[in-house]
Every structure is written in structure tokens, then in C-alpha cells.
Point group: C2
Chain length 141, copies 2
Amino acid sequence: MEDVTPRLAVLPTWLLGRADDRAHRILVDALSEHGFRGYHYRVLATLGDGGPASQSVLGRGAGLDRSDVATTVDDLQSRGLVARTPDPGDRRRNVVALTPSGRRLLARLDAVLAQAQDAVLAPLTPAERTRFVALLARLQP
Amino acid sequence: MEDVTPRLAVLPTWLLGRADDRAHRILVDALSEHGFRGYHYRVLATLGDGGPASQSVLGRGAGLDRSDVATTVDDLQSRGLVARTPDPGDRRRNVVALTPSGRRLLARLDAVLAQAQDAVLAPLTPAERTRFVALLARLQP
DNA sequence: ACATACCGTTGGTCGCACCAACGACACAAG
DNA sequence: CTTGTGTCGTTGGTGCGACCAACGGTATGT
């Protein structure tokens, strides 16, 4: 299966990167079938979890740089999925909130994401998946 | 540790991506301290494993697109680490080979990489590392 | 009142994966 | 020997994600 040279094939970082490539491709493909990218889902998911939020809070919740939040919210707003209004209590801030259609979309994308998770972990048994995810959690930054 | 919203924090693909981000950063930082990038090491490692090779073979061994092989070999050649000569037996091809200083550099980078692997897996016990790598191997494309 | 810190925006960089098209060349079928 | 067919290396591009710098506008603490 692997044409890759032994020096690379043996490196944990190589295996990790390849596994992530595969996962990423599955995820991106799944989202792009619906016309969205990872950043879109991350912002919508953050809003779905925490309700309306400033872009700064959104960035922390979605793991995005504020600059990327700005362009992503631009995009979502132009599709009518979120509303961006000035915060009356702090005029530096915008309040970003899901619109009804944004909320419906999020529910659909949640299903898409769940299916993608399953596809990624398909080679493992349920018990292995649990162990794998537990080990993965230990390797977080 | 994680400010990330629950909908994301629970996704295996998210954990995998974050773990890979961390690993990637450790690796890139380690290599860049010596003035190199991942592509450089991959090509040198392929040459170290298989000896002189055409760029096409090099691409397969290093997991690179031929276009990326071309620019990477350009770079390595300009630093005197590889030699690129026309293949007398097939004039479409180049033969790329390590120079003596390329071989010495590869030995140094091997050590750098080994240390980076250790840093990445530091949070796990030796037994856990073995299990983790085994599971990772099952998730390859 | 003024310094400090934060907010959102714009306009970049970098690493990596990948794709398209081209001329040069090899090779096998006719 | 000519004529496909296909490979090789090169150039020039795309997309995505992570990230950085600098700016004007706004709050806030001293």
C-alpha cells in the first residue's frame, strides 16, 4: 500500500500526518458536497453551542484566528446563515448570531460530520476507537 | 486547556487534526532551526534509503508530487546537497544523488527527527506509544 | 486625560497537497 | 520508419488551514 521510503514510513509523525490527511480529505469532501468548508462548520458549531457571541469569542471557540473569523463570518452572513450586528454595550464588538436557516444548516452539517467521523474510524473496532481517541486526547497541545 | 467548543472538542477528526498540528509544529520547528523544511528531509531520506534515483521515483518514495520534487531538488542542489545529472540511459530523466555533504546532513537530520518523534510522543508511556502507532497504522490511506 | 489593552478588518506569509499543460523523449504497433 | 501513447521534468497555478502585522476605533484603568 505504501510506496513510501522506510525512513519515513517508520516515523510516528509521518503516520500521524498521513492519517490526518486522510481524515481531512474525508471531512473536506463531505463538507464541500454541501458547499462549505471546515471554517464554516467550526463557526456555526461554536454559535450552536454557545449562542450569539462576539467574533473574538467565536475565534476562541472555533480555534480560529480573528482574521479568519472575520472572513468566515463575512461569508456566512452573505449566505444568510448568521447575522452580524454591532454590540450596543461595546461598540468595538459585533454580535454574531445564527439565523433560523443557519440553525437548520447546522443540524444538517452535524449529521454530515458524524458520518465523516465514522468513515475516518471505519478501520477500527469500537473498542479500538475508544482507545485511539483517548490516546489522541493525551497528545493535544 | 481547551477553549474549544464542545461540538468540535468531541470530534475524533478534531483531536487528530490538533495532534497533527502539534506534531507538525514540533517537526517544522526542529527542521527550521537547521534551515530546512519537511520536503527537504523527505527527499534526502528517500535518497539515503534507495540511493540515486530519478525524480519520479523520488516523488513516489517521498510522497511528493513531481512538481514539488522539482523545486525541492532545485533547492537541495543549490545548497550542494544533491547532484542532478541527466540519465544517459533515458534522456527524459535526471539522476539525483546525495553528495558527501548531503549524506552528512542527512545523518544530522535523522537525529533531529528522532528527537522530534520523542517530543511528540512524550505524553505517552512506551507501551502506549506502541499501541498508538499500531492504531495509527490502521488508519492509513 | 492619557496610556493601555482590546476589537474587527485588511492584507499578507508559510507549509503542504495537488492539478494542468507543455516540450522533450521513449517505445511499441503498424 | 513513422505514428501513436505515455512518461519525465518543468512551470505556474489552486486550495486549505494556520498564522502574523498593522491599522483605526473603542473601552477601561489610573
